[in-house]
Each structure stands twice: as C-alpha cells, then as structure tokens.
Amino acid sequence: MSADSKNPLLLAKLVALAAAMFMFAIFVLPPLYDLFCEITGIGGKTDSAYTAVAVEVDRSRDIEVQFVATNNATMPWDFYPVEERVIVHPGEAREVVFYAHNRTSNDMLGQAIPNVLPNNAADYFHKTECFCFNNQPLAAGESAELALVFIVDPDLPASVNTVTLSYTMFDITDRTKVQVSQVQ
C-alpha cells in the first residue's frame, strides 16, 4: 500500500484519538473525580438529604461535632454557628442553628457549601434537614436563623471522636443561572 492510501486512515485514527481525549477531559474526568472523592471521602463532601431510618441510639459513645462557618472571598454577611460545638450520641437526631445577617443595603442570595473532616467521617454524617440544600435569600438588612438537623451514623469508625462540619457561604446573587438547588 502506498503512503497516499495509508495516510487518510491514519489521519482519521489520530483525529479520533484527539477527539476522544477532548471528550475524556470534559465528560469523563469531572465525574470520575467526583466518584473518586465520593468513594474515598476525600474533599469532605456530604450526601444530599437523608431520610432518617430507625436505629438504636448508641449512648455509649459521645461524638463531639464542631461547627465552622466561613465567608467566601468578598461575601459581606455575618455568618456563624449559634453553638460552636455539641456532643451527640450516634443515631440521635440533633438540631442546631446558624445565624446569618445581610449587613448590606442590597437583597442578596447566598449558598452554603458543606465540608466534613476527617475525610472518613463524611459518609457517616447525615443531614435530614439543612439550609444548605437550598440557596438562602436575605433582603437588605435582614437576618435569619438557618436550621440544620443531623444524625451521626452509628457505623462511624471507632477512631473518630470529633467531627468538624464547616460551611463556606458563597455570594451567588449574580449567578441566577446556576442550578444551585441541585447542590446539597
């Protein structure tokens, strides 16, 4: 076979390889990354809304849950947990409250993104109710108490005695196109 007749086939194969790598970067790598983080718990992402199942509360264990609230970049709200730490038993549902206050003279939209440490606790920290499941509109000068109900799973690894839940509040006022409701 002469070079002229072999070239189009090779060209097609190499273009296909390049196109496949482009697709791989956009459509495979991000889901793969999320999957990897979910399996390993790296990144501290928590699951979405949890439906409580009846489990026996393990009163023999005390788990300290710490709460951290941070504002992202230029977010001007006051945002902090009312209780900084609570002691819970695995299996019991507990409600805590975060306080948020929009100090500006503009109506704003916030979105809190959760993160759990240590990494291996992320899968065992369940939220049945959370303000982070939706975005939080606050009118100018308005303040709100944001509720969170969580259950620490009794299967939490024995090595974990303290769980830290941190929220970062993002200003998404200008990002109406974002489908924030899909975020936990």
């Binding site: 072999k6 790598m21 482009f22 791989f24 992202n72 990494n119 990002r175 936990q184």
Partner: protein, 524 residues
C-alpha cells in the same frame, strides 16, 4: 528553475505567496523556526521586565498588576510560542530528510498548522493592550483565579490556547503519519535516528494531552460565560479538579518539551565524539518509558493541595521512578563521549552543557518529588530554578545546538565559530548566574510570582538579574550570528559538513536542495 521556490527577485507578491501558500517541509520548518525565535525574543523581553523589577526590593518600574501579566505571558509565550514551535520546526526540516521521505505526509495540513500560530499569539499578546490587561493568573491558570477573578480578556486567552492546541495536534498528526508511512525502503523503526524516535513519541504525547488542555480551557470558558460550575465551589464544582485536569496535560507537556531535546543531543554528541551513539535501543526504550510514566505522575505538582497520604506516597515513588530511564539516557550520552575523539564546536559545547545542566535540574526535580520536602519547596523560587534548569538549559540549549549543527546544511554557509563559542560561554555563565541563586532564594523561603520581596533576598536577586541580562544579551549575539551566516557566511558544499556526522540528511548536497529524496534512498 521552473519549479523552484520564488525568491525576492521574482517580485514581492510572488515571494510572499510562496511563504503563505507553501507546502514544502523545508519552508514550513524555516517559518516555524523564525516564528519561534521571534516569540523567544518576545518572551525574553517579558523576562527582562520581570528581572528588572526584581533587581531591587520595592516597586521601581512597573505596577504589581503588570508584573503578574509579565510572569504569565513569559511562561505562556516561552512554552507554547518559543520552545514547542522551535522543535516542530526542527522536525519539519529534519524528519523527512532523516528518514528519506520527499516531504511531510500531509503537506497542506502542515501549512495550516503553522499559519494559525501567528493568529493565536496575536490574539494572546493583544490582550496586553486591552482594558483590564492580559492574563495575570500565572501560566498554569489555576481556577478560580482564572475564572471568577480573571480579567475579561481571559476569553481571548482561551481562544488563543485553543488555536495553539489545534496547531500542535495537526503538527503531531503530520509527524506520526510521516514517520509511519513515508520511511525509505529499509528504514526500519530501529534504524531511525533518535531525533525521529523522540519526536514520534512526543507527537503521540501531544495528540493525547493537547485535547485535555483544550478541555480544561473549554470548561473554564463555560464556567465564565455559560454558568456551569466545573471549578466553582459555589455551584458544587471543585477548584482542585482544575489542577488535576491541568496537570494531567501539564506533566506530559514537560516531556513534550524535553524529549525532542534529548533527540537533538543524541544526534550531536556522537558526531563530535566520532563514535556511534552508545545504547541506541536502550535510548528508544527509555524515551518510551519516560513518555508512559509522564501520564501517571501528574499530582506531584500539587502535593500541598491536600491529598491522602497514600496518594502522596504513590505520586512520590512514581515520580522518582522517572529518574531511572532518564539516568539511562544521561549515562548513554556520557558513555558515547567516553574514549571518543572529542572536538568542541559550538553545537557540542551546548550539548555537553545540556547534559550537565539538565542532570542538575533533574536532581533538583528529585528533591521536589519528595512529598514531605515539597511542602517547603512548593511555589518558591526553588521550583523556578528547577524548571529553568530543565527548560532553558535543557530545551533551549539543545535548540540552540540544533540550529548551529544543522544551519550549514540548511543554508550552505558556515557560521562564525568564534562568535558561537563566545555566545555559548556568555549564555552558559549568564544562565548559571541567573538561576543558581534562585535555588538559594527558594530554600530561604522566597515565594515565586511576587513583584516584591523581603530585604533579606535583595543580594541574590540582584545577582540573578545581572545573570538574566547576560543570558538575554547572548541571544542577541545568537540572532546576529544566524543572520550573518545566512547573509555573509563562508560558503560550504561539503555534504557532511561535520566529518563525524552520520545519517541520511548528510547524504544530500549542501545546501539542502528545495526537494530532496524525490526517489527514496536505499537504506541497508
């Protein structure tokens, strides 16, 4: 000559048409080489601005915002505009002549892959004159710095990167097709010159990872303009994902830059040692091994991002493993020189300096690969020093060596040896004065990418700047020497040029005629 190339005496219009519409691999190689040299001077000018500002602590010449644009543009222009097109130019000129082919396999695509490059860089550089300034987020353009916090001109940057990527992919496909389909009879894979081998492996790396870079900037584009959240935590994305995608491209990229340089040095050292290359097949396998390993070590660029310890250990050991095939190469070059009858013409000087300084840069790379130690070295001038030892003393030195080595073959005239040697010693000394102290600065804790620094770093920064100006000056001498050679060099018609040179490209007349190997040579 009825079918010869148009020259200036045929009229300016015809002359310009010749270059714009050319499908000749030698013309396109020449275009690539001149373009890359122009970009080298431009990127070098950016570097001079950086070193001038860092000559003394405090802000003297430029504003910090402009400094950030300078560091970003220096990196982008040097990597994508200077080094990569220079090696593509060498590939265009040499690969058909080395394997006995009449031209590249896909000559029209070859023309296109060159001629979109000037547009890409015009778009990129024009952002410097726009409101908001050019890209200022570093050449690695980490999100969200390059998305949420980027100037509006980031869209031009993204478009420019897309075009560069398309150019590189087309160039690579052409090289692969040429090498696979156009070899002369008898030119088996294991008889190909090492420069051809390293380039074909590089071309596969390019076809595999340039689309990933295109994907990364496409995701940026969508995050910025279309409300997606690939890299935006507020929408459920993850900025760390950007770093993974970027370095999945970025680490193979550094081998894309250095593998053709290995090839060049593997051609030059045997010539001036008057011995065949030691361990040819081990060189081929080592190149392939390096290319393979480059895909599985990317996260060593991001040890500080917060990885599980198992991940850090894996990436650390995998990275260290690359030293094995690289060591094979270095020892093969040294063994080639061992007991050879060495002469030290300019290409050989640059090649020996390449081996020494690249190995030095490799060792600092080993230091950086240690995950625990990298916590301290990360994002300091130690990293800057490391990658300039492998990029400048590696890729640029070997590119310079290649130009001196093959220039007499290309234009049939000898360069000025004394001027070449003077240039070498200014470049060699200037380079080390510029970058050796940056190791000390980095170990002492000076972070990279800042327009100002603490007083304790003042002395070495001044030394580094003086070295950088020296090195910059050597490039002007280089340009002069090349122009002087083409214009007034001593004519030569010896096909071999160098008595120790081996390979098909030295069997054609000097200067190389416009069309070579119209009938394929017989390789025994």
């Amino acid at each position: 000559m009825a079918h010869g190339p148009a020259t200036l005496s045929d009229g300016l219009g015809k002359y310009i048409s010749r270059w714009v519409f050319t499908t000749n691999h030698k013309d396109i190689g020449t275009l690539y080489l001149w373009f890359s040299f122009a970009m080298f001077i431009l990127g070098g000018a950016f570097a001079m601005v950086i070193r001038a500002e860092l000559f003394q602590p405090g802000m003297q010449l430029i504003k910090p915002e402009f400094f950030n644009q300078m560091t970003t543009m220096h990196g982008l222009v040097m990597v994508f505009g200077a080094i990569m097109p220079a090696f593509v130019g060498l590939a265009n000129w040499l690969i058909p002549m080395m394997i006995g082919a009449p031209d590249m396999a896909l000559p029209r695509m070859n023309n296109l892959s060159f001629w979109i490059l000037p547009f890409a860089f015009s778009i990129l550089v024009s952002t410097l004159f726009m409101e908001g300034g050019g890209p200022n987020f570093g050449w690695t353009f980490y999100a969200p710095l390059s998305t949420t916090y980027a100037p509006d001109t980031v869209n031009y940057f993204i478009f420019g990167v897309h075009i560069m990527g398309a150019s590189s992919i087309m160039g690579s496909i052409n090289i692969i097709a040429t090498v696979m389909n156009m070899r002369a009879p008898g030119m088996t894979y294991m008889k190909m010159p090492l420069f051809v081998w390293t380039w074909v492996i590089t071309a596969f790396l390019l076809v595999a990872v340039m689309p990933v870079l295109a994907g990364a900037v496409t995701m940026m584009l969508m995050d910025i303009n279309f409300g997606t959240s690939f890299f935006d935590a507020a929408g459920g994305g993850d900025p760390v994902l950007f770093q993974h995608v970027f370095w999945f491209f970025g680490h193979p990229e550094v081998y894309i830059i250095i593998l053709p340089a290995f090839g060049v040095v593997s051609q030059i050292i045997p010539t001036f040692s008057r011995k065949p290359l030691f361990g040819y097949s081990s060189m081929v396998y080592a190149t392939a091994a390096i290319a393979f390993l480059s895909f599985v070590v990317w996260a060593h660029h991001m040890f500080t991002v917060g990885m599980p310890i198992a991940g850090e250990l894996y990436f650390m050991y995998a990275t260290m493993l690359i030293a094995v095939p690289t060591g094979v190469k270095v020892f093969n070059w040294i063994t080639t020189m061992y007991k050879g009858s060495l002469t030290f013409e300019t290409p050989m000087l640059f090649s020996i300096a390449f081996v020494i300084l690249f190995t030095f840069g490799g060792f600092t790379g080993m230091m950086l690969s240690i995950a625990a130690a990298d916590m301290q070295y990360h994002d300091t001038y130690f990293v800057v020093a490391h990658f300039h030892y492998v990029m400048v003393a590696g890729a640029v030195f070997s590119g310079t060596a290649a130009v001196y080595y093959w220039l007499p073959k290309w234009c049939g005239k000898m360069y000025d040896e004394t001027m070449g040697k003077v240039q070498f010693w200014i470049a060699f000394i200037g380079f080390n004065i510029a970058f050796m102290p940056q190791h000390f600065l980095g170990l002492a804790g000076m972070p990279r990418r800042y327009a100002d620094y603490g007083l304790q770093f003042a002395d070495w920064n001044m030394v580094s700047s003086i070295g950088a100006f020296m090195y910059g000056g050597a490039q002007i001498l280089f340009l002069y020497n090349v122009i002087r050679t083409i214009g007034w060099g001593k004519p030569t018609d010896d096909p071999k040029v160098w008595e120790g040179a081996e390979g098909l490209e030295w069997t054609v007349p000097t200067p190389a005629p416009y069309h070579t190997f119209a009938t394929p040579p017989e390789v025994k």
